[in-house]
């Protein structure tokens, strides 16, 4: 297994390289730049702005300069303990943001990622705590009213998009009952509504996929064998069926967790949360080249890591598989 993981980590280097290269050049072909503003700047000012940020260098030079800044140059992981400073730890420099000139992309990530991780963690908890039981229950009581109730509940989570659910929760619980702040990220109580809103969508997916996955397994011969041997229904479900039944959920969760942990644009906007999710979308709108790349690299890291975890878990769930 260690060899498998090692090989995957090696593979991730070219993957990352392609992602960085693709993003770097893609965004340069998008019309508008970091200094495109409603009141256009004069050509003299624009020239100086471009010179200041070295945007008038040949593109290949900008690209190689950037790659050099990204290349790890030292190894002091201890520095990560006092804040997520990738520059101090590994010499990886994402450079200053264009939009927020007095912040570096390293800093923005270090400030905001923990917030998104926390929100994502809570939401994931909500999603799993609601989604898994609903899905299992629906599968076990297949085509009964319990199934329909669970499935309908899950479907409601999908039918009501977060940009509708969030404001409704705010109107009811923050404005009408006054139990919460309408927005903000101060005390523990401010975690409740955003986590519920974000978690509900994923809960719905998890419930549906769990139900579907379990039904696949429940009809297989080894389950019938287990039942015939007199194993209790709970034992059949949790010892035998759930392992295989969770496969689709696990496949889904890899990229989903990467998304959930790196923040959600809609949730962070609705609840004014200082997380990273807004930066993913806004940096593209702002043509904040360095911040776009920084967030993309971070997200790519999560995707690569989580898909690796998923592949490991899949082997663990299905002993017939081997690490290839």
């Amino acid at each position: 297994m260690l060899r498998f993981i090692g090989r995957r980590l090696l593979e991730s280097i070219p993957v990352m390289f392609i992602i960085v290269t693709g993003t770097f050049f893609m965004q340069r072909f998008v019309p508008g730049g970091p200094f495109t503003a409603e009141k256009a700047v004069t050509p003299e000012v624009e020239r100086n702005l471009l010179a200041y940020y070295h945007l008038n260098d040949p593109l290949w030079k900008q690209y190689t300069d950037y790659l050099w800044d990204l290349t790890p140059k030292r190894f002091h992981p201890g520095a990560l303990a006092s804040g997520l400073d990738l520059k101090a730890a590994f010499g990886i420099d994402f450079r200053p943001s264009f939009k927020y000139p007095n912040r570096t992309v390293n800093e923005i990530i270090a400030d905001k990622l923990p917030v998104s991780l926390e929100l994502g963690g809570w939401s994931l908890g909500v999603a799993l705590l609601i989604g898994l039981p609903l899905g299992v229950l629906a599968a076990v009581k297949r085509n009964s009213w319990i199934d329909y109730l669970c499935s309908s509940f899950a479907l409601t989570g999908i039918c009501v998009p977060t940009f509708v659910l969030g404001p409704i929760l705010v109107l009811v619980f923050a404005i009408h009952f006054g139990w919460f702040n309408a927005s903000g990220w101060y005390g523990p109580i401010d975690r409740v509504l955003p986590s519920l809103t974000l978690g509900s969508v994923y809960a719905a997916y998890i419930a549906r996929l769990t139900r579907g996955g379990l039904l696949e397994v429940l009809s297989q011969d080894f389950i019938r064998t287990a039942r015939a041997k007199g194993a209790s229904e709970a034992r059949v479900i949790f010892r035998h069926a759930l392992r295989g039944g969770l496969l689709p959920v696990v496949s889904f969760l890899g990229p989903a967790i990467a998304g959930i942990l790196t923040g959600s644009f809609v949730i962070e906007t609705i609840f004014q949360i200082p997380g990273l999710g807004r930066e993913f979308v806004n940096s593209a709108f702002n043509r904040d080249y360095t911040l776009v790349l920084g967030t993309v690299i971070l997200y790519a890291g999560f995707i690569i890591a989580l898909n690796l975890v998923v592949d490991v878990v899949q082997v663990w769930l299905n002993p017939k598989l081997r690490f290839e």
Partner: protein, 548 residues
Amino acid sequence: MILRRSLRAAWLGAAVGASLLAAGCGRKAGTAAGGKGGGGEQVLRMGNGAEPQDLDPQAVEGIPELNIIQALFDSLVEPDPHDLHPVPGLAETWEVSPDGLVYTFHLRPNLRWSNGDPLTSDDFIQSYKRILTPSLGSDYANYFYNYVQGAKDYYEGKVADFSRVGVRAPDPRTLVITLSHPTPFLLEMIACHFVWDPLPIKVVAKFGPLGHKGSAWTRAGNLVASGPFMLKEWIPNKRVVVVRNPNYWDAGRVKLDRIEFYPTDDLGVEEHMFRTGQIDRTYDFDRSKVEFYRQHHPDELKLEPWLGSYYYVFNVHRAPFTDVRVRRALSLAIDREQIVKAIMRGGETPAYSVDPPNDSGYTAQAQLQGDLAEARRLLAEAGYPGGRGFPPIHLLYNQNQGYHRSVAEAIQAMWRKNLGIELTLSNQEWKVYLDSLNGHNFQLGRAGWIADYPDPDVFLEIFETGNVNNDGEWSNPEYDRLLHQAMNARTQAERYAIYQRMDRILVDQCPVMPIFYYTKVYALRPTVKGWWPTLLDEHPYKYVYLQH
């Protein structure tokens, strides 16, 4: 504090199908973390639109930044809280030479930065040198070098000697600015535009080279202020807090203890924050909520004239807009009253000329006049009777504000009905849209222009041939000549007379189709006092206080 018996609850009940909410009841607000301090502390909490880019007056361009910078940095003259006319600020008095070219400012005695350092005329000189440093790449450097003698040559590197630029400090309390041409609105500009603010140059230098932006000097704890407030806290995407500056020259007048600025980039969210008492003022306001507030909370709703025009630009190089009769016909064939009343709903006024009225005492006399019959006649004259044979036309617009789309849809319907012509709408992402506009890559484009300082020149200069903001590339030699003539006019009256002639040309030639003049729509807690409507939505904080 709001106590809301609400019809909204009933509506919401219907919306979520939860009848238990139908019985509306109120709630007390103010549980927000920002909250009011004890002991009657005066805290103003502002919804501030976007997260500020930076707080360096020479490195920013937006209104959210302006709102905070006005609390932190003072200038030679300050805007009057009622009508924004320039009143003494850091400068106690000033003289202007008879030819209008040389301004001599006398600073107040014992001016200090918030850290106690003396603030002298040299700080101005060094700050102006910094904004002209090409490597700084200041977005608004042109607001400085377009007016000060020798500044543009220095900025473009044609002159290396800064002493050739028209700013001098004969002694620590005297600042002399020499202009390249008389600029009658110089003081208005200094009062309202932050490029003229002096910076704490020693502090800036401590954190990085002067010619670099983005050093740490603007961080909380580092930033040193000259204005009524100083920076206490800045947590990105959370809030910016400023507190009273004891070293401000007019500190005795300042009544607020602190101001908190909250980034609020979503209208709905912001209104919720206002309703739960988390903020005292919204940055903007959803037009669909205006009617409800007008009926139920008229004391909280503010609809104030705002110095800006909303219009569609014709690209005069693209057929059929090469023909002035077509431009005029289209401009005559929309019902501006209805657009304002049914769609905008914020008290905007229909626009029949580019210049908003009552702009520093100027109102354009030339107004677009003519009825539908004339519009149809003009269109027929241009060769398209009843819209027959009219080429397809496309409108370029953006959708950052919901009403852009509604206005476009209404105009589309009006032209179809009134002239029999078809308009297609093309929404583009914000920066793609801006790039298309600036690159003249459009046929008909939505645009708006909001003044940085109160003077009609703001609206007239953009139609000069070759102006970077002249997106439609309309060009008129007579107009250009008049613009230069106005810049050298001796008196305000003489200048405004020239502007009247220029406005006449704009109305006759229709380079753009004015639609309405903006209003600033926002919600404000009635407890906020010392706050007057001004044309630029600027409300000098030193006069503001809360009365419970």
